[in-house]
């Protein structure tokens, strides 16, 4: 019984730590994005709250919490209230299967540094990303506004179109690792990270993940100069904030997933595993911010074209080539 309780306590500690790091990371990612965007556009960015603006995330969170929480007339109230939580919760749940180190030994027992080593972890991640669509679709529909509805339709179309290449690009990774578990995928990269063996899969995954994150150049669901703010036009206060928490947590999650699937996860020389994972995971958000400052928005036909006629066939061909090579090389 005491062992069972100790296990539960350990699990809670792990969940608490992971959520703390992720949420703090997301808050400071907002600041980093504002600072970097300002630099790209020859501005200074937020610099009033504390030295170099380091208290800005706290001020933003406080402001969002104090704002009035409005529900538009004619909205589907329960769905309207629940939708932002779906966006944020699905993004945070991804971290349940991300391994952030090898197992530690505490009191003679091995403690794996992952919240849950699920045997089908990769499918868990894909399922969460497809459930995340509901935050956008339900929120947009329940708002009873044309802008929101258009944003929701675009968001739904975009996200289900890019889920296909996203999932297909990971098939070669599973074939090489021989497992769906993220822990096994990381240990399969002990010799050489999969980016070396699977550069095409890496590129397809990155582009599809960028589209899934609904950021420029794929921000058609929000497109502020056509749809005001798309699916979250009618949201205010912390519910609006939850969509943003979801977006930024999702950026960090994508970073972690790219690190786990292609860059060898927590593996690396000298530095501790957790630091390596954080360094690798920081790459994707930084590139996402850079891309946002650089590229214009795609047209809708270009968006669909690149998913169905370029990325999906490429991902399928990549699976065939990988399978052929694996069979040929034994």
């Amino acid at each position: 019984m005491s062992l069972w309780l100790a296990g539960l306590a350990l699990l809670l500690v792990k969940i608490g730590l992971v959520l703390f790091v992720v949420l703090t990371g997301a808050a400071y990612l907002v600041l980093a994005e504002r600072k970097l965007l300002a630099r790209f556009q020859l501005r200074l960015g937020p610099n009033r709250a504390g030295p170099l603006g380091i208290w800005q995330p706290l001020a933003d969170a406080l402001k969002l919490l104090m704002k009035e929480d409005t529900v538009p007339a004619g909205a589907d109230r329960p769905l309207f209230l629940a939708a932002p939580a779906m966006s944020a919760a699905t993004a945070m749940l991804i971290f349940a299967v991300v391994p952030f180190g090898d197992s530690l030994t505490i009191a003679g027992r091995p403690v794996p540094l992952v919240v849950a080593d699920v045997s089908v972890g990769l499918l868990f991640v894909l399922a969460l990303s497809s459930i995340g669509v509901y935050g956008v679709v339900l929120g947009g529909w329940a708002s009873n506004s044309s802008f929101s509805l258009l944003g929701a339709i675009r968001g739904g179309a975009q996200m289900i179109s890019y889920e296909l290449p996203l999932a297909l690009s990971l098939a070669p990774v599973v074939m090489l690792a021989g497992s769906f578990s993220l822990v096994d995928i990381v240990s399969a990269q002990a010799g050489c990270p999969f980016i070396v063996k699977q550069p095409a899969a890496f590129l397809i995954f990155c582009v599809s993940a960028l589209a899934e994150s609904k950021r420029l150049p794929f921000d058609l669901p929000e497109a502020e100069n056509e749809l005001m703010a798309g699916y979250h036009t009618e949201y205010s206060g912390m519910r609006f904030g939850l969509y943003f928490v979801g977006e930024y947590v999702n950026m960090i999650a994508l970073g972690c997933l790219v690190a786990v699937f292609f860059l060898g996860g927590w593996r690396g020389p000298l530095l501790p595993p957790f630091v390596w994972l954080m360094l690798k995971a920081a790459l994707v958000p930084l590139v996402l911010i850079w891309v946002r400052a650089t590229l214009p928005r795609l047209r809708f036909d270009q968006l669909m074209h690149s998913s169905w006629k370029v990325l999906t066939p490429l991902a399928l061909a990549n699976i065939l080539v990988t399978g052929g090579l694996m069979a040929a090389l034994g």
Binding site: D76, L79, V118, S119, V120, L123, F124, L126, A127, S130, I131, V133, Y134, V137, L138, W141, A142, L149, A152, I153, G156, A157, I160, E163, A167, F180
Partner: protein
């Protein structure tokens, strides 16, 4: 272990039942769809209880993640109003037939399960992914391919219908 499994079974059965009632009884189409999603989640939980995590997540990925989103799409694009011929009260005969359609399978399946218990009913065994894949690719290859033919037919029919409408315009 047995009692906790039973408790989880009841919770999932309740989720499935409530979701099903919501799907049938809601006036708003989107609410009905949310009920359907609840049911699909409950079924996926049942698969987890049966120790089949792969099937459970596939259920979420395919049904919740793709099929229901497509239905959503149709609803949002057409902005279908609530109400219609389903809303008129049915004849008693229809209700009786519906009840029979529900009760009959329950009895047949219940009878089969009670008289001929599968070995896995007490402690479900997890089938490894390798065994599952080999099963699909070796003994059940024909069935697997036939399903893909069905999907291919549906897909090409959709494309043909879409092109026909474009030409007649």
């Amino acid at each position: 272990m047995q009692t906790s499994a039973l408790v989880l079974f009841v919770i999932h059965a309740l989720i499935i039942g409530v979701g099903g009632i919501m799907a049938v009884a809601s006036r708003s189409l989107v609410r009905a769809l949310v009920g359907l999603i609840m049911t699909l989640f409950g079924v996926s939980g049942m698969y987890l209880l049966l120790n089949a995590p792969f099937i459970a997540l596939m259920q979420l990925l395919i049904y919740v993640g793709a099929v229901v989103i497509l239905i959503f799409f149709a609803i949002m694009l057409t902005k279908a109003p609530a109400g219609g011929e389903e809303e008129r009260p049915n004849q008693v005969r229809t209700y009786l037939l519906a009840l029979m359609a529900g009760v009959l399978p329950t009895f047949v399946i219940g009878w089969v399960v009670l008289t001929d218990q599968p070995a896995s009913i007490n402690a479900p065994l997890e089938t490894g992914l390798k065994a599952l894949g080999q099963g699909l690719m070796e003994p059940y290859f024909l069935a697997f391919e036939l399903i893909s033919v069905v999907l291919l037919v549906a897909m090409s029919a959709a494309v043909i219908l879409a092109f026909k409408r474009r030409q007649s315009r």
